[in-house]
Amino acid sequence: MSGVPRVLWVPAALAWLLVAVPVAGLIVRVDLSNFFGLVTSPAALAALWLSLKTGLATMVCCLVLGGPLAIVLARSHLPGLPFIRSVVLLPLVLPPVVGGLTLLFLLGRTGPVGGFLYDRFDITVPFSTTAVVLAQTFVAMPFLVVSLEGSLRTAGERYEAVAATLGASPVTTLWRVTVPVVLPGLLSGSVLAFARALGEFGATITFAGSLQGTTRTLPLLIYLQSQDDIDGAVAMSLVLVVIAIVVIVVSRTRDLR
C-alpha cells in the first residue's frame, strides 16, 4: 500500500477489470433456470469426463517426461543447453493450431511416423483419445518444465552435494533430497499443466478432431455449441471457469505456504 506509487493504481485496476468484467459478464449471461439441464446433457457429461480424464493423463505424461527433462536442464552441463531449452519452450509461444498441424504431419496417416504405424500395425493415431493426450502434452509440458526448473535452481545444489559426500548414490540423492526439496514446485507445475490441458483447443481440434466421447473435450464442445446453442455454450463455459478457479486456488495456496 504505502510502497506502491499511486500512478500505478489506474492501469492496475484496468488490467484487473479487463479480466474480471468479461468473466462476470459470462456469469450474468448464464441461463440459470436451465443450467442444470444444460450441463448434465449427455454431450456435456461426455465432454466433462473426457476433459478430466485426458487432463489427468496429460499431467502424468508431463510429470514422467517433463520432470526428468527439467532436472537435466537444471543440473546437467550438456553443451547446447540453451538450444534444448528454447525448443522445450516453443509450445508456449506457438499458436496451438501450429502444434496440432506439426503433430498431424508427423503422426497422421500420410506422415513419416504415422504412415509407418498405419501400414505396419494398422494403428491410426489421429481421431483417438491418445491423440488428445498427445496434443495436450505438447502444449502443457513447458508449464511443468519451467516451473520445476525454476524450483530446482532456487533450491540450489548444496543439499545434493552434502548427500553425495555422505555416500548417497545419485539415484538416492534424487529421491531422498532433490524431489522432497522441489515438491512444491513439482505440484504447482503439475496443476498448471493440468489446467493448461483442460483449456487446450487448437492443437486438439487440428490433430485429434472432434467426436463426442472420444476426442470432443469441453473447449471443443463449447466452440461447437457456440454455433447454434449459445445457452449451452455459456453454461459449459461457466463450468470451465469454476474448474479453472478451483485449480488456481489449489495451486496458489501451495505457493503461499
Partner: protein, 270 residues
C-alpha cells in the same frame, strides 16, 4: 514513504502517467486504426460490406472484381465465416450491408430479429458429394460404402448446416455413418480427406471443385433429396448505410453474371 508525495516524485509520476497514457493510446490506435484512415482520400468513398458464408468465398471474390469494375469508386469488403456466426453478428448489430448465408435456417435468425429488409431471395443451391482421395482408392460408390470396415469417414457436426445435411442424407439412404470426427465446418472435412487422414468425407460439390484435383467427388442419389440440398439466401441488412448499393449487389449476384460464376463453381442456380 509519506502520504504527501514530494514535488519531484509528483513530477516523475506525471511523466510516468503521460508515458503510460501515450503507450495505451498507441496500442488502441494500432488495434483499431486500420480501416478508417485509408478511406479518406478517395472522392466518393463508398464501401459495401458483405457478410457471406465461407462456401461463397471464391465466387464472391470473383464477382466483387466485376462489380467494382462496373461501379467505379465502390469497394466491396467481405466478412466470410460460418453462417450461424454471421447471422448472430448481424443480429448483434455488426456493420454489414448484405447478408448471404448457406442455409435458410440461419437467414431466418436474422429475419426474425428484424434485421433483413423485405424477403431474402434464395438464388442458388448446393448439394453434397462424397470427397475421396484422387482416383478413389477405396472404391467408394455410394454412401453405404463409407461404413465398410477399413474405411474411415468424416462429416460436419450436426449442429452446423453441412452436418444437418449429412444427417438428412444418412436418413434418406438409411445408412448410419460412424465418422471418426465431426468437424466444425465443411472445409475441415475437406482437409481431413486432402491430407489422407480420412478415406471419405461429406462435403459440397463446390468444395470438391475448389479443391482442384486434390480430391475426387462421388455423387450419390440421396444428395438431391428434400432437406439434403442446401439453399443460399441473400438479403439486404436493415440499417445498411447505403441500401441502394446493397440492393444492386443482390441484383448483381442473382443476375446473369452472378449465375454464371455460381454455376462455374458448382452451384445450381434458380
Amino acid at each position: 514513504m509519506s502520504t504527501q508525495p514530494s514535488p519531484r516524485t509528483a513530477r516523475r509520476s506525471a511523466v510516468l502517467v503521460a508515458a503510460l497514457a501515450a503507450l495505451l493510446g498507441l496500442a488502441l490506435a494500432a488495434c483499431g486504426g486500420s480501416g478508417s484512415s485509408d478511406q479518406a482520400q478517395q472522392d466518393p468513398p463508398k464501401t459495401l460490406t458483405v457478410s457471406a458464408a465461407a462456401s461463397l468465398t471464391e465466387v464472391y471474390q470473383g464477382l466483387a472484381q466485376q462489380f467494382q469494375a462496373a461501379n467505379p469508386g465502390v469497394t466491396v469488403k467481405f466478412n466470410f465465416g460460418g453462417s450461424d456466426q454471421l447471422a448472430q453478428q448481424v443480429v448483434q448489430g455488426a456493420p454489414a450491408d448484405v447478408l448471404a448465408t448457406a442455409s435458410t435456417k440461419t437467414m431466418q435468425t436474422a429475419v426474425q430479429a428484424g434485421k433483413i429488409q423485405g424477403e431474402p431471395v434464395v438464388y442458388a443451391t448446393n448439394k453434397l458429394q462424397i470427397a475421396v482421395a484422387p482416383n478413389n482408392p477405396k472404391q467408394v460408390a455410394q454412401l453405404a460404402d463409407l461404413t465398410k470396415p477399413g474405411v474411415t469417414s468424416v462429416v460436419c457436426a450436426p449442429a452446423v448446416p453441412c452436418g444437418a445435411a449429412a444427417v438428412a442424407a444418412e436418413k434418406a439412404a438409411n445408412v448410419t455413418l460412424k465418422p471418426v470426427s465431426e468437424e466444425q465446418d465443411v472445409k475441415g472435412v475437406l482437409t481431413r480427406v486432402e491430407t489422407g487422414n480420412a478415406d471419405g468425407g461429406l462435403v459440397y460439390v463446390t468444395d470438391v471443385k475448389s479443391a482442384a484435383g486434390k480430391v475426387t467427388g462421388v455423387d450419390f442419389p440421396q444428395a438431391s433429396a428434400q432437406g439434403v440440398t442446401q439453399s443460399y439466401p441473400i438479403g439486404v441488412v436493415t440499417g445498411s448505410a447505403d441500401p441502394q448499393l446493397a440492393q444492386s449487389w443482390v441484383s448483381f449476384v442473382t443476375g446473369p453474371q452472378g449465375k454464371a460464376a455460381l454455376q462455374q463453381a458448382g452451384f445450381t442456380t434458380k
